[in-house]
Symmetry: C2
Subunit: 338 residues, 2 copies
């Protein structure tokens, strides 16, 4: 049984903790939290809490919580730490992990240099086998890699162009904007292009990111030029056995991210999450070797299966095929069933 600790319990950390606790080969030792807020209080009913230092122990105890120990204790008792701290903090934590001689997974907010490899289950699982420090790429890059890498395997890809219509902030955030403006990222290509190459290799790719006032999901408009001609059914074939890609249709009512998130609630998913990347069937358009499609990304949860798989890759627990299957089964990811 592999022992895992979670550092940080925001959008990603809390979901990683739940997902890992559902695995039969991974034990969650506990989570590191900085403040005794409502999230700590709820989390304490399911997970051991760890705090940065002795001073924080007192603060948590005053709030009626009983941390199991400090972050040093969590590192000592864990084989691997999943670092889910805010963007840029992972880099600062790397020294601690090295000193504590513990493996660590970082999230996509970190620069690629923080880790020995960047990770996506479909694109490059094997590159992380046996590695001590791995970075799971961001929600947007994960979404792109998930639908594009099966196309790369089957047809080869010459060039990718993607426009990312990004959600402004997550649902539990009431401070960030924009609330009524469309905000283009003026750096072209956006960082996603470079990030996609960290998992898909040296492909020609251009990305443009535009922030819009919504909290539900990102939407990607993707165009890929393949190395050979294809037809729509070939694209569907390439995605058919990939359970983490979900083909949806506007015809049965799923015409926007509002209904996709509603579907996740109806599916009874933990936290109403949608781990899969939904692709609108009607949008898949193939002309010669050019494929276009529109997909959505539930930014809070699409990287969660990848975090679970990354643990198994790094600690040489399973092949990519077996790990993906175990992860999908535990999270209820069944492919395009609805």
């Amino acid at each position: 049984m592999i022992k895992a600790g979670i550092n940080g319990f925001g959008t990603i950390g809390r979901r990683v903790a739940t997902a890992l606790s559902l695995q039969d080969d991974i034990q969650v030792i506990g989570i590191a939290k900085n403040s005794p807020d409502y999230v700590s209080k709820i989390a304490s009913t399911r997970f051991n809490l760890y705090v940065p230092d002795a001073e924080k122990l007192v603060e948590f105890e005053k709030a009626g919580l009983k941390p199991k120990g400090t972050f040093e204790d969590l590192m000592r008792d864990s084989d691997i730490i999943i670092d889910c701290t805010p963007e840029g903090m992972g880099k600062q934590n790397l020294g601690k992990y090295k000193k504590g001689n513990v493996s660590a997974i970082f999230q996509g907010g970190e620069e690629k240099e923080v880790a020995e490899a960047s990770f996506n289950s479909y694109a490059n699982f094997d590159e992380s086998i046996g590695k001590k420090f791995v970075r799971v790429v961001s929600c947007n890059t994960t979404g792109l890699a998930r639908t594009l890498s099966p196309l790369a395997s089957m047809f080869g890809i010459e060039r990718i162009d993607a426009t990312l219509i990004r959600r402004a902030t997550d649902q539990n955030d009431s401070r960030k904007g924009p609330i009524n403006a469309v905000e283009p990222s003026l750096k072209i290509p956006s960082h996603h292009a470079e990030d996609l190459r960290t998992v898909m290799g040296p492909v020609e790719v251009d990305t443009i990111a535009i922030k819009v006032p919504t909290t539900l999901m990102h939407v990607h408009v993707v165009q890929a030029v393949l190395k050979k001609n294809a037809e729509k059914k070939d694209i569907l074939d390439a995605w058919e056995n990939r359970r983490r890609i979900m083909l949806v249709s506007g015809k049965d009512g799923r015409s926007s991210t509002a209904q996709l998130m509603d579907m996740a609630r109806e599916l009874g998913r933990d936290r109403s999450d949608l781990y899969e990347i939904p692709v609108w069937k009607e949008s898949i358009t193939v002309t010669g070797n050019k494929v276009r499609y529109i997909q959505a990304v539930h930014q809070e949860s699409d990287v969660i299966p990848e975090n679970v798989d990354a643990v198994r890759a790094m600690l040489k627990m399973n092949s990519s095929r077996d790990s993906i299957e175990k992860t999908d089964r535990s999270l209820g990811i069944k492919g395009t069933v609805v």
Copy 2:
């Protein structure tokens, strides 16, 4: 075992179906649906589907679904129908229920005249005992009745003034607005005042409703003039044993509806719902006999416990106390525990 059928499977119907299926004294016979959309497809894995007529049977079968029968069959096999059809349709359905000799619960979108009694568990459970047609008041009225009726019992209420800051639409809707405007209801008082009297009796009440661009929750600013002086701790005492009222605090991070909905997700609630009415502790302000406070209402789910209790009242299954306790236990409503 009481047999219940659900007519309509929108925001309320789907939640009523799930909640009733969790009761050990109620069996869900099935749900009536009009179109074979994604909601029907997901629902069909848990519930028997019924359709309006033979023509619809064919349409559903073409979409790969196998309805159990028509609405006539559902009525015949049920002791009670919970009508969760869109606003105004309940009135049209009343004739069918009378003809089918089946009890029915209507939702708050209907006029009070559709039923023999209007219902709120804390305010007037007993008035619906043995009734054949009952209306559960709307989400906003339920929210007001839930926090005000314990104050009415304990202190008496001379007058209520409430400003309802209403969500624009539900999360799964991508058609309605406003998306960037504040839209006051120009009828003063809004219909909620009259509606509140249907469950609290002839109290002096004035309500003003303002629609704002959000999908998460309503927020109410409430002022009640009591029949005697009180202190803040007396108000807290009046609410203490009412599990469906949840005292929350901005101090531990729950400062807006965004965090309240996040809390519901962390609590692992079905569909990430929040059945309780959260009241911000800091906002409770008492001056002499005047009480002010701010509360929030998860419009999609706060009436769900009431629908379950209404079944038990109408069919004389339990006392209000026992029904409320059974319902709360089944839905994980524990009072102010976080």
